[in-house]
Subunit: 349 residues, 2 copies
């Protein structure tokens, strides 16, 4: 769909103004605020065209225009000016990532808070994918009363643990033996490179402990399932409530009830279709329940490997230019912070 440059200017003005004020935009306002050198009447004519083409719509006859989803899409793809973070904003982010985080979870949580604070949207941050790393250490710790804890440490600094039930005949020594065999065999392997032959070797070496191995391997298999152990940090909901579109409690309620389901959040973050920052506007989100929202998401990576996603969810009328810049900037910073953390050379965290 082609738009001549005057129509583009007008559409840009409408969207900019609407994002700013959340009020339908009239021709007079545009003529006054945006020096396009044409009269309100001309603008009205152009607006009628834009409406017919589906880029803007009218809430009712005597109101101004608001952008349609299609209008936002055109804006994001062609019209939007890149937003330059203010020095203050940049400082805020940089500072966050230079200070020492106690652990990855906290780092991700703070990332979400910052995202939300800067964008006035809710933030969603996924924890790094376990399966992206390779096993570094496997330990079975005897806890007494027929229980043991299996601890998996991955080389990317993630960790997984699970209680398992063991026969009381098993001693701490047995567990140590099993641990050391598992370590010797599996250490350095990624989940994908564990082959059936390797498993067989382990079983041969530990025939006596077949039962425990079954349990351990079940956990390993589980840790392989993508998304199984992902935690998702949701934050800054209250930042979103300051947006006028959420003055209606019913909307807030349905939104909240959805966002408290981790599985839904995971599916939202999975909607990344291209490298870099992805923008999903309204109905473009493959989730019927939140089609009156937009989403800006991206993937963070370590060593060139994408290992998790993050993003924000907000009203369709969000400041896309700013949100995209913020998400982009924060993704880069988070990536390099994790890089330092996982790949070494870094600070103690």
């Amino acid at each position: 769909m082609e738009l001549n440059s005057r129509k583009q200017e007008i559409l840009l003005a409408i969207i900019t103004e609407y994002i700013d004020t959340a009020e339908p935009v009239g021709s007079r306002t545009i003529a006054r605020k945006y020096k396009l050198g044409i009269s309100p009447a001309t603008i009205r004519n152009e607006m009628a065209d834009l409406e017919e083409m589906g880029f803007i719509e009218q809430p009712h006859t005597s109101a101004g225009r608001i952008p349609s989803e299609r209008g936002y899409r055109y804006y994001v793809d062609y019209l939007m000016h890149k937003y330059q973070l203010s020095p203050d904003e940049e400082d805020l982010i940089r500072q966050e990532y230079t200070s020492k985080a106690r652990d990855i979870g906290l780092l991700l949580q703070r990332t979400g808070q910052l995202l939300s604070q800067l964008t006035h949207c809710a933030s969603v941050v996924q924890s790094p994918k376990m399966e992206a790393g390779s096993y570094k250490h496997i330990q079975l710790v005897e806890l007494g009363m027929g229980r043991a804890m299996l601890v998996l440490v991955m080389d990317n600094g993630t960790i997984q643990h699970r209680l398992i039930e063991i026969p009381s005949s098993i001693t701490g020594g047995d567990l140590a033996t099993i641990s050391s065999v598992l370590n010797a065999k599996l250490s350095g392997h990624t989940i994908e490179t564990i082959k059936f032959t390797l498993i067989k070797e382990i079983y041969l070496e530990l025939t006596r402990h077949r039962h425990i191995l079954d349990l351990v391997l079940e956990v390993l298999r589980y840790s392989l399932t993508p998304g199984a152990e992902d935690k998702i940090y949701l934050g800054g909901l209250f930042n979103m409530l300051s947006q006028p579109e959420f003055h209606n409690i019913e909307k807030v309620k349905t939104l909240l009830s959805l966002l408290e389901q981790e599985s839904l959040l995971a599916s939202l973050l999975a909607q990344i279709s291209k490298p870099g920052v992805n923008v999903r506007i309204g109905g473009e989100i493959s989730c019927r329940a939140i089609q009156d929202c937009s989403m800006v998401i991206a993937t963070y990576e370590v060593g060139g490997q994408p290992i998790g996603s993050l993003g924000v969810l907000g009203p369709i009328r969000m400041d896309y230019a700013k949100v995209i810049s913020v998400v982009d900037y924060m993704t880069r910073h988070l990536s390099s912070a994790l890089e330092r953390l996982f790949r070494g050379g870094g600070n103690q965290i």
Copy 2:
């Protein structure tokens, strides 16, 4: 403050009715719905007394009465009938705790969801206190690139881990040595029973690795700080939004912004002053910001030792009888579920 039995009956009726309808209660309503055998006029006289005594108040002259905080307190202490959970509700809870949970975190999170669902309040669940257990296993795992991970496994099934930076001169073998010494010395100790002499012994035995020991001990010391590693699960906010008192967005916003601060939640849960279920009504909560809410909290325990708290937060006009029963019932069930889990004899989880 003494109340004759008729005043008590009337106060009970007012509060019951108000909790149910969220509307100021008039004398006619009480005469009609609650067969007290007296006329509205008599009830009005008694209400005037109750108001003077501070148990109820009037939003404006031509409205009915609503309970004051003092009224609620009297109700909770003296008037309230015990709420008997319905078979359905009991089933729901029992079922939750008989099914196998993947880990403690999930168990606590589900506990919160259930609490919230049954009470229509927000739920707050604290993770078990680390310091309640004793060290079972300490492992330093080399991750390459000058980093290692310290893993602390406690006998109560909790776990803590942290990345530390190590000099590149240190080998995996060194870490294994350190691990085994730490294990030998600290295993079985609670955080409180680690004495200075013990630390000294370790230093003597591992003089070469003084630097790493410093780091490790810093982490140990940190894990000792009460509350430092506590996670708090907040849930079911949307359940609370169905209460009419939260139809005002501003209230929701301030509440949300508060509840997203973990430290505040921790301080709320710390306001337990007696064994069993604690009820804090309005201003009784030592937090200025949420004085228009009430809180029902309790402590769960393992082996007779309190190891964490949980509770709900909701409008002052909450169904105290039901909420108290639910919190009590769930606390017991959570305690015994954890008991099975930590103390063994239990299912695999």
